[in-house]
Symmetry: D2
Subunit: 137 residues, 4 copies
């Protein structure tokens, strides 16, 4: 899916562009929107005793985002393993690619912190979902 | 006007609520939306050689905002002086007041940094604008 | 006491100065240093079942802080009431005042969230502490 | 070199640990300390018309950092190419590795934004510098 977000002044740094750490905030906002779009919220994950801590974050910066830019953040699940999953992101402004990256997440039990499998219902929902590039015109 | 914003994980702190400094980010996002709604952007202010640095920020916290809350931030200009102006903000979630505050801004020349008057056209536009409480149903 | 802090790139915005919300982060860093200096940590407050949520934050901006500035943040408790307290802050760089402000905190029970009194031992320690202006040469 | 940093409340999120994007802020603080340690500041880079925008950022999260943790961030230049360079980072608390990552930077002319070579004097200074693991006891 595609999550939109407006760059604020507080996102920029003195180079006049969005500070590099803030893209990880944008990724996270897109991730939350992804779960909402799937009809699952953070509360559902809690109810399943699932937590998905980030174990790796990566971002390649192609071109700067600027104040007032309306960013379109494409987010997809691109890998589902036994006890981990990966989201990929593309940040665009007016169709131009500004950044792309991914986050890898462990799947753990939110109570005891141990590695666990994704609930089957959630895995099914994720696997049934076509990638954004096939869904959006 | 009312600016909407979704709380992300990165806005929260270990108390499980939005970290207090982030309300000033929310205020700023609402301020930018205010200018856009007025048909003026940051670029227009630049073209007029106007900058509006914050000289005072104030926030009273009434109740916590939480992850995934959809916040409605009401923003109005409540004071226009010779060389300063004040914005007021109310942050609500589902009608409940969570925080309110204000920012006071100097009006300076964006080139030389000296205090200056607001351009008359901008002053007229601001004065002609009814407060949000009278405009939104 | 005086808490020192180096401005990073991520603290600045596209005006080339520290973004206004970040001063509340600086205040909080100074507050934590204040508790450590008093020999109390956050964990002690937890052990006493005390939490001190911010109910008001205020900052007056006098002059901009910039990238690489080494800031000296003076912090004192300036008001102790039955169930609230106030910290005051002055942010300086090379002796020059850049900003000043305060935070007011409710004193609540960290378990049930109800208003409570400060533990007497903590109140005594705070009252016995001379203000920074009398303590630092 | 090793750059120390205290985790503040505002760095944490509602999981009770440091929010993942903030490690990129920590990396940047360590990078600035690296330049200062080398006797070069951002102003020197400016004087040489050199800017080093981040083109890739990567972080692997091993264990959570928490409020009040005193972090030791080891930073080294691990790659010097014709027109790019790479910093590597290890974040530890009390000797325990919490995170590690890298940032890759283009070397560009700060005026016209074109790719350029590092000034020879700077390249020499960087090449003469032993890695932190050989320098710190």
């Amino acid at each position: 899916m595609i999550h939109e977000l407006r760059v604020i002044f507080g996102d920029t740094d003195q180079m006049g562009v969005v500070y590099y750490a803030n893209y990880l905030r944008f990724f996270e906002g897109a991730r939350a929107a992804f779960w909402r779009d799937l009809g699952r919220t953070h509360k559902d994950l809690d109810a399943w005793n699932v937590a998905l801590p980030v174990v790796t974050a990566h971002c390649d910066y192609r071109a700067p985002a600027r104040y007032e830019d309306l960013l379109a953040i494409e987010v997809d699940v691109v890998e589902l393993r036994a006890a981990s999953m990966r989201f990929a992101y593309k940040v665009r402004c007016e169709g131009r690619l500004l950044a792309e990256g991914y986050t890898r997440h462990a799947v753990i039990h939110s109570g005891d912190g141990r590695v666990r499998a994704l609930p089957q219902e959630l895995r099914d929902a994720l696997e049934a979902r076509p990638p954004t590039s096939l869904r959006e015109p």
